[in-house]
Amino acid sequence: MAYYITTLLVYAGVDAIACLALSQQFGVAGVTNFAFIIFQAAGAYAAAVLSLPSDSANGAFQTYVGGLHLPFPFPWIGAAIVGGLLGLPFSALVGKRLRGDFAAVGLLVTAVMANLLVTNYRPFLNGDAGLALVPAPLDGHFNTQGGTYQWGYSVVAVVLAGLTYLFVRRVTESPYGRTLRAMREDDVVADSIGKNIRSLRTSMLVLGGAIAGLSGGILVGFINLWDPAAWGYAESIVLFAAVIIGGLGNHKGAILGAVLVPVGFLEASRYLPEIGPPGLVPALQWVAVGLAIVLFLWFRPQGIFPERRRIVASTAGGAEPLPLVAMSSAKAMVARPASGPADVMLETRDLTRHFEGVHAVSGVSIAFERARLTGLIGPNGAGKSTLLAMLAGTLQPTSGSIVYRGENVTRVPAYRRAQGGLIRTFQLASEFKRLTVIENLLAAVPDQRGDSLRGALLGRRYWGADERRAIRMADTMLERFGLTDHRNTYAGDLSGGQRRLVEIMRALMAEPQVLLLDEPMAGVHPELAHRIGKLLLELCDEGITIVMVEHELAIMDEFADPVVVMVQGGVLAEGSMASLRGQEDVVEAYLVG
């Protein structure tokens, strides 16, 4: 009985560690790694071959690489390192722009193939027979078959699970964790506010892989054997089921899921007497896991412990100046020049983009002057949004170049342009839905101390002051836009107009020098639209350059100067709205198309 309980405890610890890794990777960062199980497997194999003696020992009844016979804790460390390193090649797979389900199939199949190869290639890891007689940690110092050792092992496993929990919580409840959640909500938008998605994904794969690898190492040290049957594709499903049932994005949920699904459903009864014909009980267990997955996703997709809304506490002290104001004074930005040659902030040269032969934008050369609000108008399909996307780097031009502050940025990725102050908004709602309003704003603040894995791990003492400053700025912004009451509301729960505001505020928090706004007033109450327009003009006075696509021409009339008219992918005319209205070809473009 003691053996049974200690075994369950070790399994609970191991599964909890694995589920926490998956919870961090999938639940928090939204990286769907259906090959997750091979990270645990790699860790187990690594620990095994590091602790086993050379394969000629024991009468050479099994063959494997390695066999270094290293003492504890090297096998466990090795397990974590191998799991982490395995994450590197995977970042290429997971980061691809592929339909979610296609990518999932690719990863599942990779896991199946890895299993097939290890099964069939005996010299590597002893093929389908697997590795046996893996030494337990500290073998020789203790009686590893004794009850004391078993209890000790289970305590270590559970304590390590607890430490893993503290570790992933530290990562998640930091500015870096907020960035990860923003990426989970919408990676393109996160990219547009300066987040390096590829690097974030790679970090998650390496971190999750290392933790999963460690869990494999702990497990193999206890059960002393490891074979391909232990890591079939179904085991991956079990871990995903655990995290979903426990609650995506909630690490406590991951622990609960681990205790319920892999331990509760599968391990707990492994040592119970068989009921019915042989194989019935295990089969029914799998059916139960399948049912649990489908029923939970239907009836309670948020899991038993849903991700909790993070309330950002107010900070004492006076209002922090807005980043824009700070920037315009500190960096001594020139205000809008009254006359004389205006300096060009952003420029396109012969910019062209084809979509399957159609010229969405062709040969566009425009110069956007500093501290002006340039309007971009034109009929449907004129190429305005395509142009904006190219300026921001979301879309690559087919030919031509983009020059930002005198530098050719045509090949610079979107997040780098954003970090350089070139910030866009989107035509369709693009708020991070399951981040609160203030979190949406905070996510955009550049150069935060806590917005890196290292910073997150250094802890609140390292980034706390920085964060409080950011919160004060965000609160000032919320006040300015009248959204203070919705500070801690999920952005996804706001009305359409309020969501547009969140987006504009978020763009402003990113400390833009050039703002690219794609129909920012669509769906916004007219009175509010008017206020936004005025605010944008104030920003121009502070030195910000704004390019705005908008189809409500009355707004252009009042706020934009100059206005660029695009028709069929090209620039038709440029000038003040009043002068454009007098031009016959512009009128025709609107009436005749």
């Binding site: 769907t32 259906f34 691809k96 592929l98 339909r99 979610g100 389900d101 296609f102 990518a103 999932a104 199939v105 690719g106 599942l108 199949v109 990779t110 199946v112 193939m113 097939l116 190869l117 069939n120 594709y233 179904a234 499903i237 995903f240 089921a241 979903i244 014909p277 042989p278 194989g279 019935l280 089969a283 029914l284 267990q285 799998w286 059916v287 896991v289 399948g290 049912l291 649990a292 997955i293 489908v294 996703l297 239907w298 997709p301």
Partner: protein, 288 residues
């Protein structure tokens, strides 16, 4: 040379089984945009229903019809009761994948719970071996090839020349426009899942015949071959799936004869991963 011809023979049989399965799979994707990863489990369940009849003395060729019926019913159930409700809720493709994997566990292990964990074989007569030179196949194998050819011809006639088949393609191409043309797309989709489910069921039965012995989990790996064939031809493309099945079926068997047979499926994995990485719309994609 002998080995080569023999492997071509095996390859043709494999390709035949694979073609039936892949066309069913791809049709489901075409009309509903769902990668039904529970497909292999439906094949398994159908193969076992055929086994149950076969055990009671029904010839396997008739029992295969029971497999077709099982496949049709299970597939209709999967789409109507599971996938389409989730789709109506706008579940993400990832969520649908997880649901499909959950359904795989349910169907596969329910089958195992009922049928037991041991492998089974159909009672069937392989018949005499027919040889042309070193190219030899049993009568049963020739029959499998013929069944597949007839089914493929049937699918071709259906989607090219019948009102229903064209409506299936129209629904796949543009569901809103199909509805605005007066087509009741919900019905077309249900019929598609019934027909493709029947193909899935028959595929399960002929898989069992070809493999000789099978168990509840033997078809898991076969799903990868199906996916490879489907993605080679482009998901949703019936003719692409036929071509993909031919390439994968022959490729795996011929390579098994010349490399090591343990790794014969690896070629399918590599093809699938390469297609996903380079051209997920398939080799024939530019045609539309």
């Amino acid at each position: 040379m002998n080995v080569f011809f023999a492997s071509i023979g095996f390859g043709l049989v494999s390709a035949s089984v694979l073609a039936v399965a892949s066309v069913g799979f791809t049709l489901q994707f075409a009309v509903t945009n769902v990668l039904n990863l529970a497909y292999a489990s439906v094949m398994t369940a159908s193969a076992f229903v055929a086994y149950a009849f076969n055990e009671r003395g029904v010839t396997i060729w008739l029992a295969a019809l029971a497999a077709a019926l099982t496949g049709a019913i299970l597939s209709l159930f999967l789409n109507r009761v599971v996938y389409s409700p989730f789709q109506r809720r706008k579940a993400s493709p990832i969520a649908i994948v997880i649901v499909a994997l959950g359904m795989t566990l349910i169907i596969e292990y329910s089958t195992q719970a009922i049928a037991g964990p041991t492998n089974v074989s159909y009672r069937m007569n392989q018949g005499p071996t027919l040889s042309i030179g070193s190219f030899s196949l049993t009568v049963a194998e020739v029959a499998i090839i013929c069944i597949s050819l007839v089914l493929m011809a049937g699918v071709h006639l259906l989607i090219r020349f019948t009102r229903l088949g064209k409506a299936m393609r129209a629904t796949a191409a543009n569901r809103d426009l199909a509805r605005s043309s007066g087509i009741r797309t919900d019905r077309v989709i249900s019929v598609t899942w019934i027909l493709s489910g029947a193909l899935c069921g028959i595929a399960g039965a002929v898989f069992g015949m070809d493999a000789g012995t099978f168990g509840a989990t033997s078809m898991d790996l076969f799903l990868v071959l199906i996916l490879a064939a489907v993605f080679l031809g482009g998901p949703g493309e019936a003719y692409g799936a036929m071509l993909g099945a031919l390439v994968i079926g022959l490729g795996t068997e011929v390579s098994a004869a010349f490399i090591v047979s343990d790794y014969k499926d690896v070629i399918a994995f590599v093809v699938l991963l390469a297609m996903l990485a380079v051209r997920p719309t398939g080799l024939l994609a530019s045609r539309t």
